[in-house]
Point group: C2
Chain length 316, copies 2
């Protein structure tokens, strides 16, 4: 015979509260409802759960034993209520975020650290990739959002793109770089130094190409290529090499005082950093909370960047 867990919950409430009236209040039901549930349960069990003819209802041994099980059910339901609330408020859950390595490592990861300080129960699954790989994953639902530099025009159908930062690249070098010592740097001078190239299929690589073409010189030494941001920074700080990086990335690293941006204006990319997601995937609360956090952080970052930008010279 199968018992109804709701009956055990009711039994528990009655035993716990000491009477049907209080139990009814406790459960938000009417007293007759409980009364009938109890008789139904007793009928199924075949044994009395309360001693008959006792007005402050007193449970039998069996009644107590089953009420103990009812307590477990009750607690499980309470717990599931809080679990559910946590999920609904986005305080629990998973966020699967993809993006280009440089932005993810240089800008997003520190923000994730902040986010997790306030949302310790939200798990972040981060994965690297460029638009070509990330778009299908957004579409199939194995990714919740992607942080990508993107041209508005190149947005495929079914995706939503929310810009969070205007694209701006700089030529980066180590803080004590020879070119930093002089007041102004002329473009042709940079061609004397070796260059670090991002992976060939990355957006940054295209930007690098555009910069190099803008300078006009064909004579560039590529001393290193294909590394992650960490590798690039290591090479950068250990040599006089140059590279092209998003200004935001250099900005985020400013407190390290190891990497600087050359005071040269180069052509800005036609891409802007934004959050991409697929409209067919209704975002879970945790994802919404995370994207909300990201946009807020980027808004703050934007104002800080433009303030510094207006100050023109900001570097250590």
């Amino acid at each position: 015979m199968k018992l109804d867990p709701r009956h055990l919950e009711i039994l528990f409430a009655i035993v716990e509260s000491g009477g049907m009236g209080e139990a009814a209040d406790m459960l938000g039901k009417s007293q007759p409802s409980l009364s009938r549930s109890v008789s139904l349960l007793e009928e199924r069990v075949g044994l009395p759960l309360f001693e008959p003819g006792r007005r402050p209802l007193r449970p039998t041994e069996l009644g107590l034993a089953l009420a103990a099980e009812g307590r477990k059910v009750f607690q499980a339901m309470r717990d599931s209520g809080t679990v559910l609330e946590q999920f609904q408020r986005g305080k629990t859950g998973a966020v699967r975020v993809g993006g280009t390595p440089v932005f993810l490592d240089g800008v997003i990861s520190p923000m994730i650290a902040d986010f997790q300080a306030n949302n310790p129960s939200v798990r972040i699954d981060q994965s690297y990739g460029y638009a070509a790989e990330l778009l299908p994953r957004l579409e199939e639902g194995s990714l919740d959002l992607a942080v990508l530099p993107m041209r508005d025009a190149s947005l495929p159908d079914g995706f939503a793109f929310q810009q969070i930062l205007t694209g701006r690249n700089v030529i980066a070098c180590r803080s004590g770089h020879p070119l930093m010592r002089r007041g102004a740097v002329k473009l042709p001078e940079v061609s004397k130094y070796p260059w670090i190239a991002p992976p060939a299929n990355s957006p940054l690589y295209h930007d690098l190409r555009a910069v190099i073409e803008g300078i006009g010189t064909k004579d560039f030494k590529i001393g290193f290529s294909g590394g992650s941001l960490t590798a690039v920074v290591s090479i950068l700080t250990g040599s006089d090499a140059l590279t092209v990086l998003p200004f935001s990335v250099v900005f985020m690293m400013r407190h390290l005082k190891t990497v600087s941006a050359l005071p040269i204006r180069i052509g800005d990319p036609d891409r802007h950093l934004g959050i991409l997601h697929h409209i067919a995937q209704s975002p879970r609360p945790s994802v919404e909370r995370f994207t909300g956090f990201l946009t807020q952080e980027f808004a703050s970052l934007s104002t800080r960047i433009t303030r510094v930008g207006q100050a023109s010279v900001w570097l250590p």
Copy 2:
């Protein structure tokens, strides 16, 4: 919003078994039933519990979290099933047994020890008393059964009496008592020794009076009275005092080799030991199991007693 614990159980079963079909078998329901329960739960929760468009159903984070709560519910229901079965089979519960001190201590308690060896989860609440006290308690339901010596004729309405042992009293003494050394003992001889008297309102006291009257001598020394069986036996073994005890009590103590029965035939009481209960109280399974055990034990005790009785001389 309140969730239905049965839904969580279903969710757990699906997550656990890996599919709706198996879960349906596991729960003894049909697959469409589960399907609809899940959609109903998802609707209430407002968030997907399974990733959409996946054929071997894969739970979401929230689905897993709620399934974990469902497991608790499931286990509580399993447990309550076994608890219930235990009660129904009488393997768990309480038995409130009353009786006269001498029988309870001398005969019933050792049997309870045996019973509890096989039924460790049955709690026995033992209380002492005579018919005058025990009958009302049976009637009001604060006692399940009483083991009493009783006259059939004196059985009040509403009670059932099941005889388990024919009444037979003996004169008891310590094993090395002077009267035991001679072949036959004549009744007048016993008047030389001090007597131990049971409490004045006990059935045994009436029996003692009857024996004494049967002997004819008015000259009896009462050296001790009012004690429990333990006290009586202590006095008995430490002195040459005599007393009247039910044969069954002496019989149960035979392996102690400290108490014997004088080989004198005295008048048997007009009471017989039996189990008394009130017919309005439908017995719980544990009570039924216990009374069944008792009658069986007494049946066995009866045959052993009569076998020894036919051998006439049985004492150490």
